[in-house]
C-alpha cells in the first residue's frame, strides 16, 4: 500500500497494484479491491449496512453510494471494483454522493422505530452512528410506520425485532454463505420483506450468535443478553476462548464484576471474526456454583478451611503418599497451569505419572503425540486449509469438535478444496463442506486409511495436502499410526486437532508421562539435563518414565497409586469407571472451581480461578499461542499454578507460580531440538463382528462448562440414533431404537441416514438421554447390540 498526494510517475507501481484517487488522494491497491476497502485504507469512512468484508457484496442497502468520474449514476462503493486511474468522490467531495447517501439514510429511518433507549444496540449501533453523521436532522416522514409483532424467536437463543431490520441481509447471508445453515431467510417482498425462518423449523445453527454481532441495527438480540446492559456501561477485554482448540479471539464484556456477553473478535489468521455459540454464550458457569474457599474432609464431610490449613493437610497427605502419586490435568487448563502441574508432578511429587487426556486415549496416542506433535512448531495453519488440494479428516467432526476449523474448511471447500472424511457416515457438517465420505467402521479407521481411494491418495501427494486427525482417533487402534504413515508416504502435512482448548498447550507443557516441556523425551539424558537446569534441580532428581492413560488407570485401580492431584477433570469423561478407581486412592487433592465427582471424593479441595480471573495462554490446534489477560483484575481467586506454588511451598519446594515467571521459564526451555521419540506402529484391529457404536461429543451437550444458559441448551441438537435403513430394518427397528452396551442401554429416536455403513449406529456421546460411557459402558468403536426396544414414553 502506498499513499501519496499525487500520483507520481517515479513511483514504480507493481503490476498487481492499481491506483485509484479517492477524494483527491491517490492510493495504490491490489487489483480487484473494492472502492469501500480502498477508502478505508485512506481513513475515509463511507457509510454502509449490507457491506461486510467477509460476505459477498450485494449492494442492497445503497448507503455507500459514491460518485465516479465518467459514470453517470452514483455507484455502490461496496461492490465497485477499483480500476486504474479511477477518480472516486465520496460524500466528502461530492454533492451527488452526499445527497445520495443522505437520501438512503432518510429512507432507512422511515420505518425504523425510535426505540434506541431500550434497544440493546443503542450506543454501538451503526444505524444510530451513521444517522448522526449523514442523516437529516429532522424526518420529513409523517405517514404511519410499518410495525410487526415483536420480538419473535428465530431460535431459542436468537430473538428478532423485525421493525428494526433494515433488510441488509447480513444475517441471512451469514447463515447461507458462512455457516451453511440457510434456515434464516428473507421472507415476503417489498416493504413487507422481513427476516424469518420456516414455520416449523428454527434457525438451527451452531454459529447463530454471529448474526447478532453483524446486525447493523438492533434487530437480532440474544435471549441471554437482551435488556441486560448498555454498551457504554460495559468494560471490554480481549480474551481467548477456553472451550475448544479452534483458538478464537474473543471480546469479553463485563459490568459490575459480571460477564454480560462475549463476542467473536477479529483475528484474520484464526477465527476471522466469527465464533461459535458455545464460545459466545457458554460462560454462566464462570459465576454460578463456584467453590470460594478451601475445603478439607473431616469425618467424611468436606468443611471449609483456611488456606494455610488446607495447604498443610494437602501437603501432608501427598508427602505421605510419596512418589506413588499421579497428576490428572483437565483439557482446558491454560498452558501455564499445565506447565505448573507438569513441574509439580516431577519436582514436588517426584513422579512422571501425569496425563492431561481426561477422555478416551491410548498408549498409541501418547506415542503419536510424542513423536509428531509435542513441541513442534506450527505445521499447518488455518490459511493453509484454504490452499490445500485436499484436506482429509480422520475421526474428526469439525462442526462439533472444532467449529472454526469447520468454518474455514467450508470456505476452503467453496474455493475448490476437496474435503474427505474417514467416518462411518456423511455427517450434516460434511455435506455442508461438500465433502466426500471415506467409509470406515468405527474403530477400523486404520484399515480405511490403508486402503484409501486412488484419487484421494493422489490428492494427498500434491503439495499442500493436509490430514487432520481428531481426538476420537485414539479410540481406533492403529488409526494414528496409519495417519502418520500416510503423511510420511504422501508428504501431506499432519495436524492433530484436539477438542479441548488446553490439550495442545498441556502436551507442550509436559503434562503427559514421558514428555517433559517442549516435547522433550524424559528418557533422553540431554532433554533431562536441559529441564533440570532450568528447574534448578539435579537431573537425577527427575523421575523416570511414568504411567499415563489406561496403564495409569490400572495402577490407580489396583491401589498402587496412593495420592492423586486432580485439576479440572470430570470423571465421567473417561470411558472407564474412573470414580471407582479413584475411590481406591488414599489421598486426593482437587483443584477445582465447581463441585464435581472429584471434589465429592477429595480429601482437600483447593479453589482455583476460571479464565476471567487469571491470565494465561492456550495453544490452538495449529500450535498458535492464544494468550489472554485477566478480565477481573481484582479477582480474589488464584490460578492453578499459583495454588500449586503454595502447595509446593508447603511441601518444601519453591516453584514460583506467577504467569510471567512461568512464561519466562517455558521460553527459556523452548522446544526440543534433539531426537524425537519414535512411535511403535500399532496395527489395525480387524474385528468386523457385531454392531459398532460411532460416537462423538456434539458441540452443545451436557458439558459442565455449558451449564447455566437454558437458551443455549435449548439450541442443542436432539439426541438421535443414526443408522442406515438396512441396519434399522434388519433389527426390526422403527421410529425408536434401543442400543445396549455392557453397562446398560440408551433408547433414542431413530434418524435414518443411508450414508451410514450398515451395522453401525451413531449416538451423541454426552447428550440428554445419551451419555454413552455411563449409560452403555461403551465408547467409539465398541460393539453394541441394537433392537427396537420398548415403546418410548411408556405408551401402549
Amino acid at each position: 500500500m502506498t499513499i501519496t498526494n499525487e500520483p507520481s510517475a517515479e513511483i514504480a507501481v507493481p503490476t498487481e497494484l492499481v491506483t485509484v484517487i479517492i477524494d483527491g488522494v491517490a492510493i495504490g491497491v491490489p487489483k480487484g479491491t473494492l472502492v469501500i476497502r480502498a477508502a478505508e485504507m485512506l481513513g475515509i469512512e463511507i457509510p454502509r449496512f449490507c457491506d461486510h468484508p467477509l460476505l459477498e457484496p450485494v449492494a442492497a442497502c445503497r448507503a455507500c453510494l459514491i460518485e465516479i468520474d465518467g459514470v453517470p449514476k452514483p455507484q455502490p462503493a461496496c461492490a465497485q471494483v477499483v480500476s486504474d486511474g479511477m477518480q472516486v468522490h465520496t460524500q466528502y467531495s461530492s454533492d451527488v454522493a452526499r445527497l445520495a447517501q443522505e437520501g438512503v439514510m432518510e429512507f432507512l429511518l422511515l420505518n425504523h422505530p425510535l426505540d434506541c433507549p431500550v434497544c440493546d444496540k443503542g450506543g454501538e449501533c451503526p444505524l444510530q452512528n451513521q444517522a448522526m453523521s449523514i442523516g437529516r436532522p429532522e424526518s420529513r416522514f409523517t405517514e404511519e410506520k410499518r410495525t410487526f409483532d415483536k420480538p419473535i424467536n428465530v431460535s431459542a437463543q436468537i430473538l428478532l425485532d423485525r421493525e428494526r431490520c433494515v433488510s441488509c441481509a447480513r444475517c441471512t447471508r451469514f447463515a447461507d454463505q458462512i455457516a451453511g445453515d440457510p434456515m434464516l431467510e428473507l421472507l415476503e417482498r417489498g416493504a413487507q420483506q422481513q427476516v424469518g425462518t420456516a414455520d416449523d423449523e428454527p434457525f438451527d445453527s451452531y454459529f447463530s450468535g454471529n448474526t447478532i454481532q453483524i446486525c447493523p441495527v438492533g434487530a437480532l438480540t440474544s435471549a441471554t443478553y437482551r435488556f441486560r446492559a448498555r454498551p457504554f456501561d460495559l468494560v471490554s477485554v480481549p480474551t481467548s476462548c477456553e472451550h475448544c482448540a479452534s483458538g478464537c479471539a474473543l471480546r469479553t464484556d463485563y459490568r459490575r464484576s459480571t460477564v454480560t456477553r462475549r463476542l467473536g473478535w477479529d483475528d484474520p489468521q484464526v477465527n476471522e471474526e466469527w465464533n461459535c455459540d458455545k464460545g459466545r454464550f457458554a460462560f454462566a458457569y464462570q459465576q454460578q456454583g463456584r467453590i470460594d474457599w478451601p475445603l478439607v474432609r473431616e469425618n467424611g464431610e468436606l468443611r471449609t478451611a483456611s488456606w494455610p490449613e488446607a495447604l498443610a493437610v494437602a501437603a501432608r497427605g501427598l508427602q505421605t503418599a510419596g512418589t506413588d502419586t499421579a497428576v490428572l490435568v483437565g483439557g482446558r487448563s491454560t498452558m501455564e497451569d499445565a506447565y505448573a502441574y507438569a513441574r509439580f508432578a516431577r519436582i514436588a511429587l517426584g513422579t512422571d505419572n501425569i496425563d492431561f487426556r481426561a477422555r478416551a486415549n491410548s498408549e498409541e496416542e501418547r506415542e503419536f503425540l510424542a513423536a509428531h506433535v509435542a513441541g513442534t512448531p506450527i505445521k499447518v495453519e488455518y490459511a493453509d486449509l484454504e490452499k490445500a488440494p485436499i484436506v482429509l479428516l480422520v475421526a474428526f467432526e469439525p462442526e462439533d469438535e472444532s467449529p472454526i476449523v469447520f468454518l474455514r474448511l467450508r470456505k476452503a471447500a467453496s474455493n475448490k478444496v476437496s474435503i474427505a472424511s474417514v467416518a462411518a457416515g456423511a455427517s450434516r457438517g460434511l455435506a455442508k463442506m461438500n465433502g466426500t465420505l471415506v467409509p470406515a467402521k468405527p474403530g477400523e479407521e486404520a484399515a480405511a486409511l490403508a486402503n484409501l481411494p486412488q484419487d484421494i491418495q493422489q490428492a494427498l501427494s500434491q503439495p499442500g495436502a493436509v490430514i487432520m486427525v481428531g481426538e476420537r482417533a485414539a479410540s481406533a487402534p492403529g488409526a494414528l499410526s496409519a495417519a502418520a504413515q500416510l503423511s510420511q508416504q504422501t508428504g501431506a502435512a499432519l495436524a492433530w486437532v484436539p477438542r479441548r482448548a488446553g490439550e495442545r498447550g498441556a502436551l507442550d507443557a509436559g503434562a503427559l508421562a514421558g514428555l517433559l516441556p517442549g516435547g522433550r523425551p524424559i528418557s533422553d539424558p540431554a532433554a533431562r539435563s536441559e529441564v533440570a537446569r532450568i528447574w534448578g534441580i539435579q537431573e537425577s532428581a527427575l523421575p523416570q518414565q511414568g504411567l499415563s492413560g489406561i496403564a495409569l488407570h490400572d495402577a490407580v485401580d489396583s491401589g498402587r497409586i496412593r495420592g492423586v492431584v486432580v485439576g479440572g477433570v470430570e470423571l465421567c469423561d473417561y470411558p472407564h469407571d474412573a470414580a471407582e478407581a479413584l475411590g481406591k486412592v488414599d489421598f486426593i487433592v482437587s483443584l477445582e472451581n465447581h463441585h464435581s465427582a472429584v471434589t465429592a471424593m477429595a480429601d482437600v479441595v483447593l479453589p482455583v480461578g476460571v479464565v476471567t480471573e487469571k491470565s494465561g495462554t492456550f495453544l490452538d490446534w495449529e500450535g498458535r499461542p492464544r494468550p489472554f489477560g485477566q478480565v477481573f483484575r481484582d479477582a480474589m481467586m488464584n490460578s492453578d499454578a499459583a495454588v500449586l506454588a503454595m502447595l509446593a511451598d508447603s511441601m518444601g519446594h519453591s516453584l514460583p507460580g506467577g504467569v510471567n515467571e512461568l512464561r519466562a521459564q517455558m521460553g527459556l526451555l523452548g522446544p526440543w531440538t534433539g531426537a524425537r521419540a519414535t512411535m511403535n506402529p500399532t496395527s489395525a484391529s480387524a474385528n468386523t463382528d457385531g454392531e459398532r457404536l460411532e460416537t462423538w461429543r456434539l458441540l452443545l451437550d451436557l458439558g459442565v462448562m455449558q451449564e447455566g444458559d437454558p437458551h443455549l441448551a435449548a439450541t442443542a441438537r436432539p439426541t438421535v440414533a443414526r443408522m442406515s435403513a438396512r441396519t434399522a430394518q434388519s433389527h426390526g427397528i422403527g421410529d425408536t431404537a434401543t442400543i445396549h452396551g455392557p453397562a446398560g442401554s440408551v433408547t433414542a429416536p431413530v434418524e435414518i441416514d443411508d450414508s451410514m455403513l450398515d451395522s453401525v449406529v451413531w449416538l451423541p456421546m454426552n447428550s440428554e438421554g445419551s451419555r454413552v460411557y455411563r449409560d452403555l459402558g461403551a465408547g467409539h468403536g465398541d460393539v453394541v447390540r441394537l433392537d427396537a426396544g420398548t415403546h418410548a414414553g411408556g405408551l401402549s
Binding site: P182, E185, L186, E188, R189, A198, E201, F203
Partner: protein, 213 residues
Amino acid sequence: MPISESTREQMREIAGRYPSARSALLPMLHLAQSEEDEITTDGINACAEVLDITPAEVTAVATFYTMYKRTKVGKHHIGVCTNTLCGLLGGDAVWDALTEATGAGHNTASADGEFFLERIECQAACSNAPVMTVDWEYMDDVTPSSAVEVIEKLRRGEEVHSTRGPVIRDFEATEHTLAFPDDGLADAPSVDAKMLAGLTIAKERGMTGGNAQ
C-alpha cells in the same frame, strides 16, 4: 395434510426438466398448491425434501410470489385488475360489484368457499380493459353486471368459457396446469377481435408486411 407420494413423484418429474433441480421450485409450489388449495407447511416441507434444501429456503420463495396463497382459496380464484388502466376504465366498479356479490375481499375467500377475490396487477390484456380472471383464465372486457353474471353462472355450476381460453375448471386445476402446462386444452379459441384489430384493417386496405425478397 402431508403431500401424497404421487405428488412427490410428480415433483421429482418436474425437477428432472432442469439442469439444476432447484429450478423446479416455482412449478413445484404450484403443484403443491393444486393439491392443498394453498401453500401449507406440508407443501413447503415436501418441496424442501424433494430438492434437498431447507424449509426456510422454500418459505423464502413461497412468500415472495403473490400467486402462492397463505389461506385456502376455495373453488375459484377471481382476479380483477385494478391497476391504473383497468381500474380507471371500470375495474374499480367491477371490483365493488364482485365484493358485494361474493362477500369476499382482497385475498380472502367467500364464506361458502366458492370464490376467492384478489385485486390483481396488470394482466397483460390492457386492450381488453377492464379485465377479470377466473382461475387465471381471461374474462375480458367485463362490466360490473357481466362480471357478476359470471359469478352467478359458476355458482349455479353452469359452463363458463374464458373469453380467450378454455372452459373454466377450478383454481386447483389451473395450478396443476402451471406445473404441467401441456394440459390438453390448447385448442380453446384464444384470439379475439381486438387481437385482430390491426390485421382486419390491413386486410381491408390491402396492407401487408411484404414477402421475402
